[in-house]
């Protein structure tokens, strides 16, 4: 491979086509290229975006390498247009010490397909009682800034208050998985008319909304940064909208699957649709889409959650929660939000790259494509389309609910630190 890479005739965020030259990991030229010794990618009709950053990824390593590894997860991320992922802490052992987050960071760096930013556990063993080694993780080589017990809610209000206060000293953020545990014991799916008919134990919206409300008030009181993971309900959206109107420091994410699917899919009893938090109603989907457009919800995060076949090939109640999402995220967001004209390329860049990088304090990421900036670039084809095939995923797991579905918008190429980590067809 030659040392220089050229994206020929690419539109940056929908603007008039230009050539983008990349050298030594940086954007070296934007305009009319003249390099003769370069690897040239013809990007006519394609759009270049700041490289995607996922703030919510389950890479499963260490401990559950039968469903995903940092290597397979990195490859899936690159195929999905991602240049950075945030490895959730619910591994075995839990990422609650400096040693583990450094190990995850190192493995990710050695693979070199994406930046792997470990997320530290808020509490030891995700048990919700004692704070984990938050400070050690923050000052480790992994420089952890995002802390989350995701999979579990930090349900104890005192623990939550202390965690919010404690991470202020290094500008950290608590990413809360909002799920009141008593209201969701053995819960299987959104509580509503579908759960009533299917006889599956309901998961009330208020179990999510009550924690969001509580934590917003707590974070505001101690002036700390709070991030709400995977918002799924209209009520949650309205609480966050209110908080932002008051100037409170809260950010929020939505997953691609919650932008598209509803609890009606559970009528098949196929646990491929079983996910935590659960799929909600069409009214909630509409509220989430509007919130992502008006800025109430800041980012799209995948909550990529790989599971082996046997954990899904069983009864709904016995199946694992979660779905893979890295490789389909862009196409779903494009199809649901951008293709209709509702969302601009600028807003797409913000929700997929700039805002998540800012929340995670990932300094080298989420930057506008300018000369001298790190070459983290995602190239997409708005005229292209994908048909999801679970057997062709780079992820080690197959648990996508989108198998066989067709979406408009396709990731064409991913450039991480100036290196081509994915090119369609290769």
């Amino acid at each position: 491979m030659s040392s220089k890479l050229v994206l020929k005739s690419v539109s940056i965020l929908g603007a008039a086509p230009v050539d983008v030259e990349i050298e030594k990991g940086l954007i070296s030229l934007i305009g009319k290229g003249n390099a003769s010794d370069a690897q040239v990618i013809d990007c006519a009709g394609f759009v270049a975006l700041p490289g995607f950053v996922d703030l919510h990824t389950h890479l499963r390593e260490p401990g559950r390498e039968n469903s995903e590894t940092i290597a397979t997860g990195s490859k899936a991320a690159a195929r999905g247009g991602y240049v950075a992922v945030s490895a959730m802490a619910n591994t075995l052992p839990v990422a609650d010490t400096a040693a583990i987050v450094e190990q995850v960071r190192n493995i990710g760096s050695n693979i070199g397909l994406v930046d792997v930013f470990p997320i530290g556990a808020v509490t030891k063993g995700l048990a919700g009682h004692e704070l984990s080694d938050i400070g050690s993780m923050a000052s480790s080589k992994a420089r952890v800034r995002v802390f989350s017990d995701d999979g579990n809610c930090v349900w104890d209000p005192l623990v939550m208050r202390r965690a919010l206060e404690y991470v202020k000293q290094f500008d950290g953020v608590i990413a809360q998985h909002a799920q009141e545990p008593r209201l969701t014991e053995k819960s299987q799916m959104n509580e509503g008319s579908i759960s009533a008919t299917l006889g599956l134990k309901g998961w009330p919206a208020v179990a999510e909304e009550s924690i969001i409300a509580r934590d917003i008030l707590l974070a505001n009181m101690v002036d700390a940064r709070l991030h709400i993971c995977h918002v799924t309900t209209r009520g949650g959206v309205e609480i966050i909208r209110w908080a932002k109107a008051q100037g409170m420091k809260v950010t929020a994410e939505v997953t691609p699957h919650h932008l598209l699917l509803t609890d009606e899919s559970a009528s098949t009893f196929d646990p491929i649709y079983k996910v935590n938090p659960p799929l909600r109603t069409q009214d909630d989907v509409n509220a989430l889409r509007a919130a992502l457009l008006d800025g109430t919800i800041d980012i799209v995060a995948t909550d990529h959650a790989p599971h082996p076949i046997e954990d899904k090939e069983c009864e709904w109640e016995n199946a694992a929660f979660g779905m893979v999402g890295l490789e389909t995220a862009f196409s779903i967001v494009y199809s649901t939000m951008v293709a209709s004209g509702a969302m601009s390329w600028d807003r797409l860049a913000s929700v997929m790259s700039i805002a998540p990088a800012a929340i995670g304090r990932y300094a080298n990421h989420g930057q506008h494509l300018e000369v001298g900036k790190p070459a983290h670039i995602t190239v997409v084809n708005p005229q292209g389309s994908i048909t999801v095939n679970r057997d062709e995923l780079a992820s080690k797991s197959r648990n996508t609910p989108f198998h066989g579905m067709n979406f408009q918008g396709a990731v064409v190429a991913t450039i991480f630190n100036g290196l081509l980590t994915h090119k369609v067809g290769e």
Binding site: E191, A196, G199, C314, N318
Partner: protein, 311 residues
Amino acid sequence: MRHLLSISDLSRDFALEILSTAHELSRVSENGTKKLPTLRGKTVVNLFAEDSTRTRISFEAAAKRLSADVINFSAKGSSVSKGESLKDTAQTLQALGADAVILRHPASGAAHRLAQGRWISGSVINAGDGTHEHPSQALLDAFTIQRHLCDSKGDLAGLHIAIVGDILHSRVARSNILLLKKLGATVTLVAPPTLIPFAWQSWGVEVSHDLDAVLPTVDAVIMLRIQKERMSDLYFPSSREYSALFGINAERASLMKSHALVMHPGPMNRGLEITAEVADSSASVVVEQVANGVSVRMAILYLFIAGNQED
């Protein structure tokens, strides 16, 4: 149709065909015929991953009266009831050449999974899945109501049926609501608000919390079994209070119309949701429900299994 998974899969006409077939089969039985050659050479597996002696015996009697070979596979406590190997079990049954699997399972949707997993080629008959559905129970309840209150070929239009008790956790209630409405009856659910599903409004039923007010208007009342452990889950304060508000006793039964039926899917908690006096009264058709269960299950086996062979 190959599988009986949910009442919602049945058309009104097919539901009525099951009932009229059951009607003919019960007459054949009453004529003294104990055994018919209809399913000779067919293998029916009773796969029960949860205890239910009465449903298993009922299906077994039905299958044997139609000359099917019956294999009982009681899987409680094994890996099947934990759900780890529904697929493995299904493949075993396939290897045994099962033409039909009667499945009772603690997980809602288990019968759907078994049918849709493409692991077996035979019919799947849902004999109760978690808190989802129990279609054969609803069919035998409708059959019992039809025998007493309607023309044997007709539907249940104009009748008012109350279902009383733990609707939230009852597969019998879910199947009954779907079937009774499909057959034209009006349905009222009677229970404390804690035992009515949130979002029941989509069901097209009435809900009441006053049993005394509802009883004089009904043609039949279906009493559901109340699990004592619901008390510890805060659904109601005490069994004494539950009985006082939602149990049926002789005094309450006297509020009903003279032709009205008292039904119960069994097993009954005598003294909790129903007193012994009412259970053994002339209005009670509980024992008849059991007998009708065999006829209805014969009709189900005949209509779903006979001729359902790929050769």
